[in-house]
């Protein structure tokens, strides 16, 4: 029961990379990625979205309105892109 094992694994509070999960559960990386996609699509885990700057009134360049995830004074355009992806159990 690989996906139930995966969910159980996450209950211990530790964080793991996809590779570590694959090794621990004896699956291939592709299988783990597939399970993650499935669990995300079905709302069992969720991708963590970071709002980088919030209301950063401190920065002159902070954009206002709906799309206030980033401000050019604190983060590069469009936020940090290469920080990897994190998921957590909903």
């Amino acid at each position: 029961m690989p996906m139930q094992d995966l969910i159980r694994l996450l209950k211990d509070g530790k964080s793991r990379s996809v590779g570590m999960i694959a090794a621990e559960l004896g699956m291939s990386v592709e299988q783990v990625q597939r399970d993650i996609e499935f669990l995300e699509q079905n709302g069992i885990i969720r991708r963590i979205e970071f709002s980088m700057c919030g209301d950063c009134s401190g920065c002159s360049g902070s954009s206002s309105g709906e799309d206030r995830k980033t401000c050019p004074g604190c983060t590069p355009e469009g936020g940090f892109k290469n920080m990897g992806v994190m998921w957590e159990i909903v």
Partner: protein, 674 residues
Amino acid sequence: MTDKNEIVIALLGQPNSGKSTLFNALTGLRQHVGNWPGKTVEKKEGSFVYNDRKYLAADLPGTYSLSANSDEEIITRDYIASGKADVVCILADSSQLERSLYMLSDFAGIDVPCFLVLNMDDVAREQGKEIRVSDIEDRLGIPVVLFSATDRKGYDKFYAALEKAVENKPLLNSDALEAKYGQIPEYVSIRSIIGDISDNSKSSMWLAAKAVEGDAPVVSRIRTLLSDDKAAEFDEAVKNIDKGIVKTGECKFAWIDELISGSVNKSKKTVELGKFDRLITHRIWGKAVVVITILLGLLASFIPALPFMGLGSAVGMLPDPLNEMMINAGCPAFIAAIVCDVLIRCLGFVIQMLGFVFGVTFVFGLLEEIGVMARISYVFDNTMAKFGLQGKSVMPFLISFGCTMGGAAGTRVIDNWGQKVLTIALSWAIPCGAAWAVVPMLSTLFFGAWTPVIIAVILIVMILHMWLTAKIFGGSLVKPENRCGMIMELPPYHKPKWGALMRYVFGRTKDTFIRSLKVVLIVAFVFWLLSYTSSGDASNTVLFKVGQAIEPVTMIFGMKWQTFTAFVASSLGKEGALGVLSTIFSGTGTLSVGMMAGGEQAANLNELLLANITKPEALAFIFAITFNMPCIVALAATYQETHSVKWTSIIGLYYTFTALVLSGIAYHIGLLIW
């Protein structure tokens, strides 16, 4: 079949399976776009003729599955089950069959003629995969085509399979999948309650599986098909299912794995972890490597900082000659003093500081661009658990290196209030971007080549500070059972995008310049006014008198009244300290000249500072401002995020207190050294 005698073929596939490519290749320009009845979901149809047969292709919305998660999915499955399509063409990506066949497995149980298209054959081949189509065909009982939708020459195979499907009306063999479902007790009980009912082409197996998944439209549909007592029994059975979607999902994936095992040959290509990845994921060395990486990064950022330092101190030389010039030109002494003592000196200071902002932003921006920052956060992730925090707290911490306000706002991803407050409390211990500019600058001024050591010590103290703070506040804020695990996927290494990086670095430097100059100027101006006397004898000012009065106390922490005042001003923003230093220790209405040996006027501020502050005092001062509250706005941001006056004031007072304690310790250690 439509009224115009067209055979209807529905294209079903996940996003990026190549559905549009296939659709366009089949229909060319004979397309029209409409909406599905009553919904705003786009409906694309197009016609084509092959071997004198007329076809109408319907491009269904690309969705992950056929569950009831979205309108698109419900439209799609109701359309294919309605029988309006004569044949369903299911697409999958050959290069990743184990995941892309999920659509097929979710379709299994809908009894409509169909065939399977394994698209992206070229990509699969490139990966060294060899797919035996006939094996898969045997197992599924439907035609299977392996081809590339982008390769026009391979379409014969596609049309052949299409014709076969139209003529033979093959149904997907789902016995093996049903056998797997049979191992789920919930499925078995629901299946026995609903018996052999079906809904259009949705078989009882499909309906029962969806009921196990808790699919609301299917559940209510089944209820209408059952007798009253059966419906009650059904409701009872459905109510008690927990995470049914995971259970059926496992069956579907197991079915897929069986389907492709033996039919796909993969040339073995194990993915090797990169050298750096192996190093940082090492249990013992990982953290050390990361700390050294950060330290080297900070040191590297000194290189671009040096020219700024030079420029800044050159500007800092200007005031005295300029002052003379202005006085000679008949400018009132008061104005000349403002321009020289406040404006120019502050400008010099801020320029010196900017170099470090530029350097730090550049180096860490680069580390982020190439994917190293993600690995750093990965390494510290499990350390978070020791603090009683979620792994995702590592992100607000990293942001806090740039700006504590950003870090505080970043804690919005943390739903648990206690963890959120603790994360903010700990993020205060992380020197922010302004600290990383002011502190290296002052260190270079006082300790020259020893600066790297100071920076290293600050990093170590920061870690201990966070650890201790977590110990102090953790107990009342977080419970270990609130923790749950996380999955992280590291990004591949990238080549940096220099353009975007440089825009970011310059943008941030400019931003910091404007903000710092504002803070420094305001603080400097206020203190200049407080210390200005027309007589030139500052010892009569209130500031001086109060300062002298509190000095016995502030010396406990290793700070003379001047540096202590600068420390207080640093609560407004670390740059504020520079504003105080630049006015108190310099200028025509100076407080410090009298203290200088021989009473001779020093050439510039840097020398003045060196002459007036001893090394142990400088060390104390550096620690005091580094670990003081980040800035007044961070205090406001903390309140905004925690909505707690109590915790905001606890955190504020705690940091003021610990900063003083740290500065006292630094002073006494300094006394032992120098």
